[in-house]
Point group: D2
Chain length 347, copies 4
């Protein structure tokens, strides 16, 4: 069984394990106050062209989202998200548990628009009693989205303007950031993305790390007391070193981007094979997640050899699935999948 | 200016004020432990045919909804509601602040269906990892709905069955209950409604009281420790007597239902006048809230004399409004409104 | 049975009931936006010499405390209180439920000192990792305290300085404010008290109103969006008029202070009688709550005629009790109590 | 600089790193559903003699405490803890943020007693209005305590009885469990401890793991839906394998206990040296944390070579410190510290 069902099936990139082993017996301060965390933060500041950003390391995506949103929102404020956003569909109501509504708008291929944001804000502020509804304060979006798609520079700039006009913060969930930055057709650099945000995070768990997400707080007004939020939510690891060491490794010699590109290349091969086989797609993703629609009979046969994620049935006899590659995907496995698709499609 | 914009423009029914004055200097225990609260609870148990129900008195709708849902839900559970439900549109995210998602389904004239509930539950429990989403546990609905409509006995029974099949509690928001029970075409009695619910409340604020909602906890498993929830949310009034005395008055000699019927009668006159004038309606409400769609030019003239609530523009030149009657609406005001409508429509 | 066990045994001052009746059928806007609320706010601003303060009306003490503290604290911050403070002993953990620790210091006759506050703050900020503990941000105190005692102008000024030095807000719980301002020996005026605070509230429930507390937000930085907090916590009454009308009445012709003084006078008579009978006191209170220590045998006899609150046993055969007078206490009842104490003590 | 300031200065035991490397490229299911987690859970069930216990793996102590307490407490309930308990002094109010009061009792050498628990419960339930205070529902204690001390079998059994008599759950924080189980004088086995609890956790972070705590839910009534709580609090790691693999290694061939014993042995040497030097101790700890009281002048010299934690000044010229050993402490470092103590004390 070869797993294409997600991008966290393996452990960590071998360079990370090596660095963890190499530094293992060094005695270091805890709670993210070790030199490796400091070095990793420095590298990230440099990569983002944000020398004054605060960088913090947390262990996973849900934890990061809830901690950041706890820090950004006052109790009566809410976060705007695509209905397909991770905070809305995959976090067991963690944001609501933190006290805040996730105010959703319908996604278009995983994305939301500046106009949707502006309309929501106008509706709120034009009400006779705006205080009867949660006040919009943060826009949350994922880059790439949960459907693998990307915001263009133009789209993101428009969203930034909508945020400025409506006094909103912009928070970008970069759980798969490296896959987005290296995708064919992407026109956003890391510094450009950073310049658009108030806060964003660089995902490690889904891109070569054992665990770890690097939160980058660009807006200086939001940097104060963030460690209180981390500790209060159980997000301040005693051995913070293991997060610092991982991001130090990922941001040395562009490893992070290389791993992202590899996954996209592998996904590109699969995408082409699916197109060649005549499959339609749920959406047009240039990144490591592909969403082809397969005949159920074919799917059943493939699933004897490969693991995929089911998204939803399409008509009676089709199923939209997710095929994920990752930093760890082996080209030989991809080649075999392609061969099997061709074979089973009789092409 | 005559106000038809809501059903809480006046104070309380004179009998209530009289009873408050009459008992004013009696020395009574606090926090709902006085004999008037006990008597009121008894009358409500009798009216509902639920001798073992627990009855508690709170001061307003939002407070009641958040306190009841805090008591019914475990932290990871959510409440299913119409997107038009009061907890979703008019409570500043109070339920989310209490830690719970409001899981909305599209309303049909303010109502939801048993099937919508079942589908949501199936989606939740059929997921490979149901624990990645909040677990549905309570169905919230309003009777009458925020659009003035009513569930039929058949519809409510079907919802009860869906709740039983999916291990859900049913909580009915009866902020305007009296208007629903006495509406033309309503086929549900108070005991039948009570028998369908785990918890519901009987609204006083919008039906003749200064303040006050009577929570009826029918399901004995949910009765334990409810006063802790009330106190913790600031919902246990020191002078609980003022709630007990009001409900005692409302449930003596059917006053509560008489007041409801009066408002419905007044609304019926207005509805007919709107129909006669050729207006369409947002929805077909038999209760004290009417939602006609008026030409903006006409509306502008009427609003020099009357206050209404605006719901939303319809096309370019029409506006859907809400016209509310209440227990306190004077027939002469209604007659004058009707006359003015006729006059301005040139009919 | 004559009740001296609390100060909320009766309804409201007759002038309040009269004004409620007189205005009852006026049609008014809801949610505190009626002219009576505006007038009451104006009178309170004048009485406090704080023309720019925001004034809001809520229904009870626990609700007020939790709503104000929700507005003043960020999620990782805590409130400093006497261990005897109402938020620590009598609110079912409402503040913790709102997400915040109540950081207690031992009380001295119900009071805390500037030095206790400074020591706590030094401990917090001198820690190597202050972010491992909740950050002190608000000082909560009651005037009068839960033990009936009062802060002097000198004590309160010192606390204000400690707050300024440690970047803390000062929030005064004035549930019994009128009893404090009119107590013998009190050297603080309402404007002086207001000038010391960031926020305080003027209690109505325990001083002549049916329900109602008037929150005065003196610090302009804390005024923004307070109505969102009220609505979210179910503290924005639909018929806000009933709060406005009550405070309008209480702040007309000094009624509020007259009622406070009456209760203090009555308490003074009882205090003297207890002293004459040779009873010790838990603390030296000049206000409407008296805490004498009585032999249990005597107490048992008195309790056939009068209701008191038990505080705690003292040695084997004594009991500290609370005797409360209020705006409504009848002098003839006090005289009878004094007579009975004398009689039963054989004096 | 040799660090004795805490027990998490190094990475992980080499066998753990080895096993992580060895399994690194295996493709495994996420979120704790891999075979290593299953095997680790099995080994823990066996070691605890609790075949039906639920075992879950989380990443750190604060996260574990808040997630477990969120699952055990209803919103109005509170947890009883020593004032020195980790949840009270070192978690930034995480439990209060989860909505619950930490009800503290004074510690005696880090411990609480069955009698303290019973007294608190009696006070609660004997109050006329118990619902005015949070309801005690869980007893939290640490084994070993934050001061390195241990509960005896007799003490823990008495606490269990107090819990049973008062309808409380017992939750044991075992962040340093291995150091307790292997301490000289300890008379509790792991199965005995497990049999006493409703829930406890086995700490990995402070005992040889990179990260990780194993929660053991012994009481079957508390097992339901725990994964929802984990996910909601960001405590369900995508690559749960790294927790399973670590605990699998620690519970193979008694590694966990061996590491604990090593630290205790090293601490014993230091304790003896301190005694020989004539130092007093804050408390009498048989485990890896020692709390000697040193002259400040001596401490200053030692701290040029060694890192310790400061606890608090004792008189003018003494300082109580914490000296921590761990699974990773090298005997040669300990010998050198002892030599330096002797040398500097002139003995």
């Amino acid at each position: 069984m070869i797993r294409f069902n997600c991008d966290y099936s393996e452990g960590a990139h071998p360079l990370i394990l090596g660095k963890l082993a190499q530094t293992n017996l060094e005695q270091l301060p805890g709670y993210g106050q070790d030199p490796y965390c400091a070095q990793a933060a420095k590298l990230i500041q440099q990569a983002c062209h944000t020398p004054d950003a605060a960088v913090h390391f947390l262990s996973g995506g849900t934890q990061t989202n809830l901690t950041v949103l706890a820090a950004l929102l006052r109790p009566y404020q809410c976060v705007i998200s695509a209905d397909s956003g991770h905070i809305n569909v995959h976090e067991t109501g963690a944001i609501e548990r933190t006290g805040h509504r996730v105010l959703t708008v319908p996604n278009q291929e995983g994305k939301i628009t500046a106009e949707q944001i502006s309309v929501l804000c106008q509706e709120h502020w034009h009400d006779d009693n705006p205080e009867f509804a949660p006040q919009p304060k943060v826009v949350y979006l994922s880059f790439p989205t949960e459907l693998g798609t990307l915001y263009s520079k133009k789209e993101l700039s428009a969203i930034r303007r909508a945020c400025d006009e409506n006094n909103l913060y912009l928070f970008i969930d970069g759980a798969r950031l490296g896959y987005g930055l290296t995708a064919p057709g992407n026109d956003l650099t890391l510094p450009e993305l950073a310049a658009c945000c108030d806060v964003f995070y660089i995902g490690g768990t889904k891109l070569g790390a054992l665990i770890g997400e690097a939160v980058v707080i660009v807006n200086p007004k939001l940097q104060k007391d963030f460690r209180y939020f981390m500790k209060q939510h159980g997000a301040l690891l005693a051995k913070g070193r293991i997060l610092g060491i991982q991001f130090l490794t990922l941001f040395t010699d562009d490893l992070y981007l290389q791993l992202g590109k590899h996954a996209n290349d592998m996904a590109g091969l699969i995408r082409q094979a699916c197109k060649d086989a005549g499959f339609a797609f749920l959406c047009d993703s240039p990144t490591n997640q592909q969403f082809p629609i397969l005949p159920k009979t074919l799917l059943k046969k493939l699933e004897q050899l490969y693991a995929f994620s089911h998204i939803r049935p399409i008509a009676r006899d089709q199923m939209a699935i997710r095929i994920c590659t990752s930093w760890a995907t082996r080209e030989e496995d991809v080649r075999q999948l392609i061969t099997d698709i061709k074979r089973l499609c009789g092409k």
